[in-house]
Symmetry: C2
Subunit: 758 residues, 2 copies
Amino acid sequence: MPETHVVGQPLPRTDAEEKVRGEAIFATDVQLPRLLVGKFLGSAHAHAEILSIDTSQAEALPGVRAVITAADIPKVDTYDPDNRNHAFMARRFAVYAGQPVVAVAADDLTTAGAALELIKVEYRPLPVVFDVREAILPGSPAVSREVTADTESEAATEEQELPNLANRHVFEHGDTDAAFAESDVVVERTYTVPVVHHGYIEPHAVTAHWDRAGHVTVWECVQSPFEARDLIADTLGIPHTNIALNTTEVGGAFGGKWKGIYGPLGVLLAIKAGRPVKLILSRHEELISANPAPHTVIWIKTGVKDNGTLTALEAKVLMDVGAFPKHDGPSAIGVSAMMRNKYKFQAWRLESQDVLTNKVAIGPYRAPGAPNAAFAIESQLDEIASRLGLDPLALRLQNVVDEGDLLVGLQPQVKNGVKETLTALAEHPAWTDPPPPRRGDDGLLHGRGVALGAWGSGMWPASASATLEADGKIRVILGQVDVSGSYTSLAQIVAETLGVSAQKIVMKKAGTDHATYAPVSGGSGTIYSMGSAVEEAARDLQAKFLKRAAQELEVSEAELEVNDEGVFVAAEPERSCSFQRLYELGTDIFLAKYPPVVSQGSTLPQQQAPTFAATAAEVAVDPETGQVTVTRLTTAQDVGKAINPLSVDGQIQGAAAQSVGMALWEEVMYDREGQVGNPSLLDYHMPTAADMPLIETIIVEAPGGDGPYGAKGVGEPPMIPPVVAVANAVAVAIGTRIYDLPITPERVWRALNGRSNE
Amino acid sequence: MPETHVVGQPLPRTDAEEKVRGEAIFATDVQLPRLLVGKFLGSAHAHAEILSIDTSQAEALPGVRAVITAADIPKVDTYDPDNRNHAFMARRFAVYAGQPVVAVAADDLTTAGAALELIKVEYRPLPVVFDVREAILPGSPAVSREVTADTESEAATEEQELPNLANRHVFEHGDTDAAFAESDVVVERTYTVPVVHHGYIEPHAVTAHWDRAGHVTVWECVQSPFEARDLIADTLGIPHTNIALNTTEVGGAFGGKWKGIYGPLGVLLAIKAGRPVKLILSRHEELISANPAPHTVIWIKTGVKDNGTLTALEAKVLMDVGAFPKHDGPSAIGVSAMMRNKYKFQAWRLESQDVLTNKVAIGPYRAPGAPNAAFAIESQLDEIASRLGLDPLALRLQNVVDEGDLLVGLQPQVKNGVKETLTALAEHPAWTDPPPPRRGDDGLLHGRGVALGAWGSGMWPASASATLEADGKIRVILGQVDVSGSYTSLAQIVAETLGVSAQKIVMKKAGTDHATYAPVSGGSGTIYSMGSAVEEAARDLQAKFLKRAAQELEVSEAELEVNDEGVFVAAEPERSCSFQRLYELGTDIFLAKYPPVVSQGSTLPQQQAPTFAATAAEVAVDPETGQVTVTRLTTAQDVGKAINPLSVDGQIQGAAAQSVGMALWEEVMYDREGQVGNPSLLDYHMPTAADMPLIETIIVEAPGGDGPYGAKGVGEPPMIPPVVAVANAVAVAIGTRIYDLPITPERVWRALNGRSNE
């Protein structure tokens, strides 16, 4: 790997000052003249036919400026009733509790709330499809689906058999039965993961402005501005280029704000009211009407030889996708693939079923589906290691899929750092230190566990522009939002490429009107994809200004070098041309000698870059209460090249907290009526700093991929292993295993006391 | 000239609907939370030393949020006291009546006005330097100049001799005395042009927002966003990239809003107040504190042979530049050059002097200085034609500088359309129709006059980006503002280049944070310069999408053609790839096969493109009142290629109105105390539709330059000849000549009645 000067430096975030000073503009900070407040009435029922809606009293309330129902949504060719994003308001059927049925725009929140209370909706309740295992059975009541002329006929026939089956797939390879027969040990378990919420600090928020000439301006807290724009265009039939979507700061997203959810609703209110409207979800609405991570039920059967060689894998994955077949969340098929792809098996049979229920549609959450898959396969491996008396980390190293080994689609795995990652953890004190005695002097039960997570680096098309500036800086224009300090890392890439310090780079975020295409900030693709685009823009810019400087200084470009001031002749440093001068010579209407020095980068990564993270966790369990405390947590991760190690550390630490939360506390609790029982952060327990130990990080830099300076995706991999490492540590500590997340004190206590956890 | 399909079409303006509906955002429409109103106190004296300023009572007034004086301006290295833009507030000296001395930001305009009345400024009045002819004399009182450590010593010595001489230059070539001696006729006259205001509908306006992290956002009505940004940066010492300047719609500018005037003042108020501030000039302030066109006194002597061959030119140009040597307006040297450059002379001696007076600094106004120059030289030619009994149009054709003839700097003139322009007018009924009888049956005196104007095409560096869009349109991103429908013409250039219709092009104006460099919308350079940049961007975009389409359709690029839907195989039109599909293949994170299809254009024109306009005007003069009515006005203009003939017609017609206004009515009237006597549009007479005849246009398309599709600059040339064509027509009508503008009824009456007009 070539030596770098700016890339690899642990730099503080460039947006720190404005955020600390409260100057950063979040969605709620957007203010416009005559701005109204939007609010929606969610369905009282998880499943019902809407017989009538009476909005007359609400419309008559002073201060109410618009009342809309699905009837106000324009008819557009692109409408797809199966698509959750298109079903932002209930039409004939309400299919989850909290689904918007009516929305209002009013002068203030109080008036909006009062208006909602005046609305009378007549529902005909329908049987609530609640349990994924029941929903998939023949004869189950069906989640209602809206129909269009196109979908009516096909929907009718298929519904008879398995009315809630949204998608089914089988991966099959080799003779699974024979492989199991040859195995020395076979472990067969069922693992469940509940619905989990992302827990971003800032709720979904959109402010929409419409003008009578047909232009729409939207300020929205989303990760993928162009997709968010296109969602509004497609659902409301507005030409894409009539919509300017300006992303605000993102107060946490984790996949949950990919393209927004209620952008179209906000715009529709603004059009109806003829005034701008701001719609901010309450925390309650976030927990019932957003797009959580999926509940899964995974039956898994694993065969292994006494020497630790894995043989066969069989699994059946049921994923509860909520009420819509089309959504932005993961799928059961992906979970199946992820279970297979980390380890070598000679045969496998993996059945995947996406199942509809009367719950809100699922969405992407940091490494979507991967914690679900990992909880199953990594628990299995741990149980196998325990049964065979093998070191669980060594067992993984022994079986892991490496370069050239076949993946589930029978394509070979590419170059990666899985062994380096596992080895780095294996050699770290987190693993080499003697484990804590199971029964400590503190009266607590102790255990140590390990787990491995695998993910990829997002390969998105991306583009950006760059230009020299009047103050001698380099301005980079991009449409992507800064999530978790990514602008700082992107600036480091630009600075490294140009040969200047990071302070010379100014990143400017543009909305969809002014940016060329930029992809989502997510999917572990920000640095891998946008990093490549800004690197290309920087290279192009450098080529251009070196050419100009060579003209000015009357030397060949090869004789030139770059520093923070500009370009100089290497052999005679006093012969130089500052960036300011180069700007002037390309802009001043009197002095200009050549065109403006501007550049573009537009890229699509060509090489996959798989990424791996491995976590060792230690827990202490109180046998009296069942309470689990994580006492030590260490994650090793292959990031290819840490562009900004501070940022990488932050990603690993933040992900660990979310993953531990999933292990021990987090669950959106649905009752059989499809109602969420804990729609508040008082009742939905997210970890706080007090719940977490100091998290140690081990940055591994293995070659692979074609990312900038060797970088790979960083954000999602560290989310995957901690949840299972903790579960595996608890299993060691309490001597028995819990197959359902979260591992609550009640479940631990029941396990310790021989009670069923069913 | 190659055949074009979109270029050359008379298309209505793309911004028509939003403007007609009142949705376009002008500077006054910008609203921000906690927005304050800014207002300044102008100096009561045209010339005074400021002894003290007491703002204590104003600061104590409830609702006043900031009070600033020059003492609040940060000390910056770039400060230049001679530069009007840097002297946006008076420091030690007030040098023109109305110069800002104190400014306030308050909750509303009433409070701001009340605060100003509470401010006590103690002045020591100084002698007012008023008349340019007196000001240039040795021993004249001097316009005070602020000093810095740098300028103190040099200023002291130079001031002794000619204290108000800002700049002097002489063009001299050949033996002028001998040439006059050989002439058959010598005409020697002095022409004056008064200070004239642009008369834009919208006044100067700026809204400034500052945050504690040091970012400044400005919404300003300016023609040159980057220069306006840099002005704020340079005067206040703010890094350029910390300032985002967003241009609003331009409600008329005509050069007067090049880089704004009070942007720095608005920003300084916002910083001091810690809240956003909007500052809008009143019409009164516009007329006393903006940047009008200059007063000139031109003595000119012209020799000619009996056969009409011009021989010698001598001139002395005094230009009253106001109180600052550095300003954005024209200079006397430019006026001298313009007088020489239209016609061939064997010898010339042209002395130019820029003179300081205690008036507001001048600025650019549509063809800056050219009407002043034209009034002198084109009146002279008319008088010569009359004396020799020659056709005044033929006299011009005979003497005009054509390709290869030497210009004032002895460089050869380049290819141009001057003869085509004059010939087109000569052959038009406006000239071939018999002239009206001098004494008509209507009791009025009639006359017809002609004049020629010359100008250039602005050669600015320019850049823009383009991209395919989700709705199949092409989005062009540029930093330039749309002045007089230029976006419509630019879209036509892009459409023509791509082979699609103009409706497929969407122009998006970006602020200085998000646009790459764009030059001023002005100087007849919008189409010539930015037109080239968007043409290059379109060509680059087409190359990219043709390459992608060729891949998709598995043919060579040569087999492809383009229509409004996308790209198709010429021989098999059903084999096609839509623009939407091409967008998707370069953006969709699942389907992408290549990078986003984006492009850039960055250009600097290399060839000059001189432009010419010639006007024939007919007037009717009431001998009782001296009132002049323009009864017919026809302008022929070489535009190279009319990208949008509707837009060209509009430019010619609008300019005619401004030029006729200058001929007959417009004058900012200063008294000897340096106070403006008519600072209101009730007293400053601008023409209305009722004052103007229908204006005929003759579009000439002569080759030359390297503009897009042959286009040359359009906006300024038609401003030049009407003022003199009208004056020449009046001279014919009344049988005597008026040498001072405007040709008011009083002056006409005096001339008709043998009274002096001195």
